[in-house]
């Protein structure tokens, strides 16, 4: 009797959640205009697009079905496999898994949070963030005008008025390259503090692995506080 109940339960569950449902795109909106021949869908008002591991909300959306190109505008929010992004406009190629966001961009990917004016990301989570912006996680804050990102590989490069606050480092430079658990490289007009020491130079490397932490002055000087060696 229990086995029969279990089987019925399984059948009902399978009927309620078709296997391929998650693979389809669902477009919701107050209005949907669909050009069947040219394969273009336009949606307006409370737009929600749901796809494989994907949800996008916006005020307006235009979807070119054959190219799997999606343009959304107005209070756009995207959630996809650990990635959350919001902005004023987005272009998403669902086939190539590329994303472009513009206007008051905010986002997060796993442990990283970011803010800027324009963000482009590929499916492997590499890309660029431009405009005055920042990237942070707990105990880490990197600021700059242009960023190259590898969020999955935990590698970040900030350029133009770059600034890093991490552990006991508080450094400004023209370019800051951060490779998690490896090193931070500061290049051009480097100045700031490490612990209580003042650092100035053109190229400074900070080695990260625990137990190996050290500053390597490739082109620069360290100023010790008076009375210390």
């Amino acid at each position: 009797m229990k086995l029969r109940n279990l089987l019925w339960g399984l059948i009902i569950l399978l009927l309620a959640f078709p296997v391929n449902a998650a693979e389809d795109y669902i477009i919701d909106g107050d209005e949907i205009d669909w050009d069947v021949i040219n394969e273009i869908v336009e949606a307006r008002g409370n737009v929600v697009i749901t796809g494989p591991d994907l949800q996008i909300t916006a005020d307006y959306a235009k979807f070119k079905i054959d190219k799997e190109e999606l343009f959304v505008e107005g209070s756009c929010r995207l959630e996809q496999q650990g990635l959350f992004v919001q902005g004023d406009q987005m272009e998403i190629n669902l086939g190539k898994e590329t994303l472009w966001v513009q206007g008051s961009v905010e986002g997060s990917y796993e442990k990283w949070e970011m803010q800027g004016e324009e963000l482009s990301l590929a499916g492997d989570r590499t890309g660029d963030l431009t405009g005055p912006g920042w990237i942070k996680r707990e105990g880490f804050y990197l600021e700059g005008n242009n960023f190259s990102l590898d969020l999955a590989g935990d590698t970040l490069i900030a350029e133009e008025e770059a600034h890093l606050e991490y552990e006991e480092l508080k450094i400004w430079a023209d370019r800051i390259e951060f490779r998690d658990e490896e090193f931070v490289l500061f290049v051009g007009n480097v100045h700031g503090n490490y612990k209580r020491m003042r650092i100035e130079g053109q190229k400074v490397r900070y080695i990260l692995p625990p137990g190996e932490e050290r500053v390597i002055m490739e082109k620069g000087r360290i100023f010790l506080p008076a009375g210390e060696d």
Partner: protein
């Protein structure tokens, strides 16, 4: 002389009595009975067939059905068990329609289909609560809950407008469209 006075007095009293009598008669305030409507016979045609030729930039209509009942003045018709086709100037037989009930005005042309309305073309099948068409208009208007089903897609909404010989579908009110994904891409009609 006395006789004259007497006669005048009698006449006066008779007139006075008649005046008082009519003055105190009850007044009938009930409205007059309406004239009975005369129901004119309505012409009935079983297994009817109608053809409204397509106009430039508009659709035409070829309609068949079980029963057509024409109004006495010939301005409208009630239809039952309707099926047929919308036709464009250069298209023929692509847009089938059927419904349980219909209402058709001839001048200007206006058609409203209700109850189990189904519209079919090679791209999709659409079910709706009602369908309206204004003669000479290339657009069809559906409402009362719309469901669309085609190869690789389905959709729904409260209302729909079908334009450009039904290749443009405008869903309105809690609209939803499902696009089936096949392999690496979206399956298209």
């Amino acid at each position: 002389m006395k006789k004259k006075v007497l006669a005048l007095t009698v006449i006066f009293l008779v007139l006075l009595g008649a005046g008082i009598y009519f003055l105190f008669q009850p007044v009938d305030l009930t409205p007059p009975e309406p004239e009975e409507e005369i129901e004119l016979p309505r012409r009935e045609v079983e297994n009817f067939q109608l053809f409204l030729p397509p106009q430039e930039d508009g659709l035409g209509l070829e309609l068949r059905g079980d029963l057509l009942v024409e109004s006495p003045d010939g301005t409208y018709m009630d239809l039952t068990g309707v099926w047929g086709e919308f036709k464009g100037l250069e298209t023929d037989g692509f847009y089938e329609v059927e419904a349980d009930l219909g209402y058709l005005e001839m001048d200007p042309e206006y058609l409203r289909l209700e109850e189990n309305v189904v519209l079919r073309n090679p791209l999709y099948t659409m079910e709706m609560g009602f369908l309206e068409w204004y003669g000479g208009d290339p657009t069809l208007y559906g409402g009362g809950g719309v469901f669309i089903q085609g190869e690789g897609f389905s959709g729904q909404g409260e209302k729909v407008e079908l334009r450009d010989e039904m290749e443009l579908i405008y869903l309105r009110g809690d609209a939803r469209l499902y696009l089936k994904r096949e392999g690496d891409g979206v399956e298209t009609p």
